[in-house]
C-alpha cells in the first residue's frame, strides 16, 4: 500500500514537472531503481537549508538510466522570485568540463594532440620558465629555470601545467616563492575569471604564457587557470570564438537551450542572485555591482547580468540550468552521445575519465585523497578515503557559487546540485551528504526498470 501511495505521489510529481518544464520529463523513481521514499530525505535536507537561512534557494536533480527521477527547486532565486527548475545560475568551475569537451572535440577531429605543446598554438608559451625561490638574503629572491619539457594540452586538461590561480595562493601561504608568483600575476593583470575583464581572453592568456610556472610541467597537480588557456586554444585551433564554438558544437547539439557565456536580454530575469551566507542564519543578497573579496579571491557575480562582452572564460564563464547541465552529464555518462547525437566517442570519454593523467598526485583540492583528476573533472579512485561519492569511477566537479555535479557510471546515475551561495567553503559537507542521500536512494530490488 505504501509503495502504491509513493508511486501515485511520484506520478503526480512527474506530471507537475512535465507541466512546468516541458523537456525535463521525470519518471517514477522506482522505474529506474530509486526509492521515492528515500529521495524525500533530500527534501528534508534542502528544506532545512532554506529554513535555517543557510541558502536562499536550491535545485536538485537526480537521474538514473537516462531518466530524471528527482527534480526539485526550493526557496528563492532572488528576493522577488522563487527558485524554479529552469532558473539560470553561474556554474563557474563547472564550465571546465565543458571546455574540456570542446578541446576533445578538436582532438577527435585530428586538429590537435594532447601531447602537443601549447606553444604550437599559442607562441607565448614557448621557452617558459619555472620560478624557484632562493634563500632569504639572496640578491634576487628567485631564479627562473627553463622547463624540462613544455606545457602540453594534456597538462592543461589535467591541471599539471604549473599554472596557478591567484585566489588559491592562500592555500599555500608560507610556500617560498608563492608571493613572488602572486606579484607577477597581479602585475601582469592576470584575472582568475570570476570578474569579466574588458578584454579578449586571448590577451590575458598571452600575458600568462610569458610568466613563470609554479613547478615543472607534469611534476605537480595544482588547480589553476588551465581551462581559460584551453578556451583560447580552442579559438586558435578552430578559428571560431570560444562562445560560438561551444554554442555550435556542445550547447545546440545537446539542446542545452539555457546555457550561455552571456545571457540574452530575454533570459536575464531567469538569472538567480548570489547570496552571502555565514552558514549561521545570516543570508544577504549580493548587491548590485558589488564585488566580493576574500584574500586574493575577487568575484563579481553581477557581471552575469551583462548581455554581451569580450571575456570568455573557459574556466568559469558559463551560465546554465540544472537541467541543461544534466544533459551535458548524461552525454558523458552515455559515452559521448545523447538522444542520438554523438559528440564524443566512448573511447574519448574513457580517456577523459582515466585516473592516471595526474600521475602520483591526488586531486586533493575539492575531495581530499583517494581522488584523481582526469581531463576536466575529479574521479574517485578508491574507497579508502574520507570523501566517498558512492563508487570508484564517480567523476564530478563543482562551481564557486555552490554548484556540483556527480556522475556515477557504475550505477548509471547523475546527481546535480545548484545554488548561488558564497563563500564556497561551507558547502563540502552539504554536497557530500547529498551524494550519500542520492546513493542510498538506490533500491534496485524494487524496480522493474533496471537497465
Amino acid at each position: 500500500m505504501k509503495i502504491l501511495f509513493s508511486v501515485c505521489i511520484a506520478m503526480i510529481c512527474a506530471t507537475i514537472v512535465n507541466a512546468d518544464f516541458v523537456d525535463a520529463k521525470s519518471v517514477l523513481p522506482e522505474t529506474v531503481g530509486l526509492s521515492s521514499q528515500r529521495l524525500k530525505n533530500i527534501d528534508t535536507l534542502t528544506d532545512k537549508l532554506i529554513d535555517e537561512k543557510k541558502m536562499a534557494g536550491t535545485v536538485v536533480l537526480i537521474a538514473r538510466h537516462g531518466k530524471i527521477a528527482y527534480f526539485k527547486a526550493t526557496g528563492l532565486a532572488d528576493t522577488d522570485k522563487p527558485m524554479e527548475k529552469d532558473t539560470i545560475m553561474r556554474v563557474m568551475s563547472m564550465s571546465k568540463p565543458i571546455t574540456s569537451v570542446a578541446t576533445m572535440l578538436l582532438y577527435e577531429q585530428g586538429k590537435l594532440l594532447l601531447s602537443d605543446p601549447v606553444s604550437k598554438y599559442i607562441p607565448e608559451f614557448k621557452n617558459q620558465k619555472v620560478l624557484v625561490p632562493l634563500q632569504k638574503g639572496s640578491p634576487f629572491p628567485y631564479k627562473l629555470l627553463p622547463v624540462k619539457r613544455e606545457v602540453t594540452i594534456r597538462d592543461l586538461l589535467a591541471h599539471t601545467s604549473g599554472i596557478m590561480y591567484l585566489s588559491y595562493a592562500g592555500i599555500y601561504p608560507n610556500e617560498p616563492g608563492r608571493q613572488d608568483m602572486l606579484n607577477l600575476y597581479k602585475g601582469a593583470q592576470i584575472n582568475d575569471g570570476y570578474c569579466r575583464s574588458d578584454e579578449e581572453i586571448g590577451e590575458m592568456v598571452k600575458r600568462l604564457g610569458r610568466l613563470p610556472l609554479t613547478a615543472q610541467p607534469g611534476e605537480v597537480w595544482e588547480y589553476g587557470l588551465n581551462s581559460d588557456v584551453l578556451g583560447y586554444l580552442v579559438e586558435v585551433v578552430s578559428g571560431v570564438k570560444f562562445d560560438k564554438f561551444v554554442e555550435q558544437n556542445i550547447f545546440k547539439p545537446l539542446k542545452m537551450n539555457d546555457s550561455y557565456f552571456y545571457l540574452p536580454e530575454e533570459k536575464i530575469n531567469r538569472l538567480a542572485a548570489v547570496y552571502k551566507s555565514d552558514w549561521n542564519g545570516t543570508l544577504e543578497r549580493v548587491g548590485e555591482h558589488e564585488m566580493l573579496f576574500s584574500n586574493e579571491l575577487a568575484m563579481c557575480p553581477y557581471d552575469a547580468y551583462q548581455t554581451s562582452g569580450k571575456y570568455l572564460s573557459g574556466g568559469g564563464g558559463v551560465l546554465s540550468t540544472a537541467y541543461d547541465y544534466f544533459r551535458f552529464c548524461q552525454m558523458l555518462l552515455n559515452g559521448g552521445e545523447l538522444d542520438g547525437v554523438r559528440l564524443l566517442s566512448r573511447k574519448t570519454v574513457e580517456l577523459m575519465s582515466a585516473t592516471n593523467h595526474s600521475g602520483q598526485f591526488d586531486a586533493t583540492y575539492l575531495h581530499g585523497h583517494g581522488w584523481k583528476f582526469g581531463l576536466g573533472f575529479a574521479i574517485q579512485q578508491d574507497r579508502e578515503h574520507d570523501v566517498d561519492a558512492g563508487d570508484v569511477g564517480v567523476f564530478e566537479w563543482a562551481g564557486l557559487y555552490s554548484t556540483r555535479f556527480s556522475v556515477d557510471p557504475k550505477e548509471d546515475k547523475i546527481t546535480i546540485f545548484f545554488s548561488q551561495t558564497t563563500p564556497f567553503g561551507h558547502h563540502f559537507d552539504l554536497w557530500d551528504k547529498l551524494l550519500v542521500l542520492s546513493g542510498s536512494a538506490i533500491s534496485d530490488s524494487t524496480t522493474e526498470g533496471k537497465k
Binding site: S119, P123, N127, F140, D198, R207, R210, L211
Partner: protein, 290 residues
C-alpha cells in the same frame, strides 16, 4: 681560468652542431620525442615590457624601437631577437640575473640597478602626454609644463617609476600596473597618467574603444623622453655588439632608414621629422660623450 672569446658566427655553428649531435643521440635512445624547440638557435636576446607599437612581440617587426635596433645591427651583419614580458620585474630579472644581450625601456622606467655598470645608449625620443578622464575633469586639467601645476592631484605611476619629482611637487602617487593605467583613470582611482602618445592610441583602441574619446590629453604641454637600450655587460658579446649598434645607428640616421621607420609608425609628418632632428642632436652628443 680564462676563456677564449669566439666569433659569434663560429659560436652559433658550434651550438647548432652540438644540438644536432644531441638530437642524434636522442633519436637513438628511448628519449623524449624531437620537438621544434630542440632546434632553437642561440640568439642575441633583448628583453622589454610589451608596449605596442614601441616594443611588441605581437608585431612581426617587434615594434618601432626594436625595428630601429635591428636595422642598426643589420648594417653591421648582426641580428637580435626580442622577448617581451607583461611585467617589468621579469625584464629586470633577465637583465640583472641572466646573460641576455640587453633591455629596452623608457629612461624613467629603467632602474639604477638595470643601468649600473651596463652600456646605456639612446634609441628613440618618444613623444609623451599626460592623460585624464574627461567625465571626472570636465573642464580639463591645465598643465603649463611645471609639475607644480598638478599639485594635489593623484598620479598613476608604474610600480618601477621614479616619482621623486612628482612627490616633491605635492602630487599624490598611486602605484599601478602599466597595463591598466587607462582603466584606473576611468575608474577614478587616479587623476592623471603618463603614456607615450603612440602607445596610448594603441591601448585605447584595443581595450577601451568605446570610451577612447573620453580620455583627454593634457595640453598645451606634451613632453619627450628617451627610450634606451641597455647592453648587459654580463653578456660576453655585449661590448662588441654595442659598438656595432653605435655604428649602425649612426648609419641609419644618415641614410634615412631611421626616418623611414619613424614615418612607418608615426606617419609622414612634421612631427616625425622633428623627432629625427632632435634625436640626431642627442645622438651627436652621445657620440661626443663616448
Amino acid at each position: 681560468m680564462k676563456t677564449m672569446a669566439l666569433p659569434i658566427g663560429l659560436k652559433k655553428w658550434i651550438h647548432v652542431s652540438g644540438l644536432m649531435m644531441l638530437v642524434s643521440v636522442s633519436l637513438m635512445a628511448t628519449g623524449p620525442r624531437i620537438t621544434a624547440a630542440m632546434f632553437a638557435q642561440a640568439k642575441n636576446e633583448i628583453v622589454a615590457v610589451e608596449k605596442p607599437p614601441l616594443y611588441a612581440m605581437q608585431q612581426p617587426s617587434g615594434g618601432l624601437v626594436f625595428e630601429i635596433v635591428t636595422a642598426a645591427l643589420k648594417t653591421q651583419d648582426e641580428m637580435a631577437t626580442l622577448t617581451t614580458y607583461p611585467v617589468r620585474k621579469m625584464a629586470d630579472y633577465y637583465l640583472t640575473q641572466e646573460k641576455v644581450l640587453g633591455a629596452l625601456g623608457r629612461a624613467q622606467n629603467l632602474s639604477e640597478a638595470d643601468k649600473k655598470g651596463n652600456i646605456v645608449l639612446p634609441v628613440y625620443r618618444v613623444h609623451e602626454h599626460y592623460y585624464y578622464y574627461k567625465p571626472f575633469h570636465p573642464k580639463g586639467i591645465v598643465w603649463k609644463g611645471a609639475l607644480s601645476d598638478l599639485k594635489g592631484l593623484r598620479y598613476g605611476a608604474r610600480e618601477e617609476e621614479n616619482t621623486q619629482a612628482y612627490e616633491k611637487a605635492g602630487i599624490k602617487i598611486v602605484r599601478l600596473s602599466g597595463l591598466d593605467l587607462f582603466k584606473k583613470l576611468k575608474e577614478g582611482s587616479v587623476d592623471f597618467i603618463n603614456e607615450p602618445e603612440l602607445s596610448a592610441k594603441v591601448m585605447l583602441e584595443a581595450n577601451l574603444q568605446a570610451d577612447k574619446n573620453q580620455f583627454g590629453e593634457m595640453n598645451p604641454a606634451p613632453f619627450e623622453s628617451t627610450v634606451l637600450i641597455v647592453f648587459n655587460v654580463k653578456n660576453e658579446d655585449a661590448k662588441t655588439i654595442s659598438k656595432k649598434f653605435r655604428d649602425g645607428l649612426t648609419t641609419i640616421l644618415e641614410n634615412g632608414q631611421y626616418q623611414a621607420i619613424l614615418e612607418k609608425y608615426e606617419g609622414k609628418n612634421s612631427l616625425s621629422a622633428s623627432h629625427v632632428k632632435d634625436f640626431k642632436i642627442q645622438w651627436k652628443k652621445e657620440l661626443l660623450r663616448k
